[in-house]
């Protein structure tokens, strides 16, 4: 291992900066080089991606109609005030 190489331990702490596009060009290159040859880190990054994707499935879809009707009533009061 070259002293400039990224270790697995370092990579797991940089994964968010990597996904957020916040790494310096040099670190980004070190990250890409590592991930290109380390299947275990690739697995780790995939799990982080899956975690993000899973969190994105938690949102509720529609507004409770009762709440919406109440708010429209609030709106009409405000409109007429």
């Amino acid at each position: 291992m070259n002293p400039n190489d990224m270790s697995c331990k370092e990579l797991v702490e940089l994964v968010t900066d990597y996904l957020e596009g916040a790494l310096s060009p040099a670190d980004r290159q070190r990250f890409d080089l590592h991930i290109g040859k380390c299947d275990w880190c690739k697995l780790y990054v995939d799990q982080i991606r899956l975690t993000i994707q899973a969190a994105g499935k938690l949102t509720e879809d529609s507004v409770d109609p009762r709440a919406k009707n109440e708010l429209l009533a609030v709106f009409r009061d405000w409109k007429n005030s």
Binding site: K9, E10, E20, Q47, I52, Q53, A55, T59, V74, F75
Partner: protein
């Protein structure tokens, strides 16, 4: 708006919002003028777009669904009353959530709850736990110092479908629920609600860097929670 509000949040304005001049998109200007004309269908669209997110965000700060409903309703009223004063220096969405977060925080504090307050977070002075248990890495391996001791547990095939299963969703939610309040706040807005980092920084009054550190800690811990689930399976 963001720069004005951060005053009452007790934090410095995020550098991003200070340097970039915000230009509203035409749809937003149309919506705003319809709202100012007291157009009910415009308000109805706004409610449809944001109400469930407002409820979810409010629940992070207050103790019950009922109180969250009150806070959200007060927020909508605050929005209506403030429309004519809204200066359009940020998006309507950011402005609405700034109102909500301020109100919900105040309410939560009054309830004596532990309130997430990312604006106060300082990554430098609050070191976090490592993303992965250090025992998973072999520090002294002559060839690969800091490399994995063994392959991270394989989660197997987790198709799109299983992400939606009730069991898996409950698991992800439980992982998020056990996070420290600051981390929970950021991961909920970023990954659950799908906001951009800029929106999160503007609404919470947190710097880009601190936002990213909180997000990193949160995601790492939720991944660990999922990993423990696959271990037990």
């Amino acid at each position: 708006m963001a720069t004005q509000r951060t005053g009452d949040l007790g934090a410095k304005a995020p550098s991003m919002s200070a340097s970039i001049v915000f230009r509203p998109i035409p749809e937003e200007l149309e919506l705003l003028s319809a709202l100012r004309r007291r157009d009910e269908s415009a308000f109805s669209r706004l409610v449809t777009a944001h109400h469930t997110s407002l409820m979810r965000v409010a629940r992070m700060y207050v103790g019950s669904q009922a109180v969250a409903e009150e806070v959200v309703q007060e927020t909508w009223l605050g929005v209506l009353k403030g429309l004519d004063r809204f200066e359009g220096r940020c998006t309507l969405k950011t402005w609405i959530f700034q109102i909500l977060v301020n109100r919900a925080r105040t309410r939560g504090e009054r309830e004596g709850r532990m309130i997430p307050f990312s604006a106060m977070f300082d990554a430098q002075s609050e070191p976090g736990e490592p993303a992965v248990d250090p025992s998973q890495f072999n520090e002294h391996d002559p060839e690969w110092p800091g490399g994995w001791v063994s392959q991270p547990r394989d989660w197997g095939k987790t198709p799109e479908q299983s992400l939606l299963s009730r069991e898996f969703r409950a698991l992800v939610q439980a992982g998020i629920d056990t996070l420290p309040p600051n981390q929970k706040e950021v991961i909920t807005l970023r990954d659950v609600q799908g906001w951009t980092s800029e929106e999160v920084c503007n609404v919470l009054g947190v710097s880009e860097t601190n936002q990213r550190v909180l997000l990193h800690r949160a995601r790492s811990k939720v991944r660990q929670a999922l990993d423990r689930y696959f271990a037990a399976k």
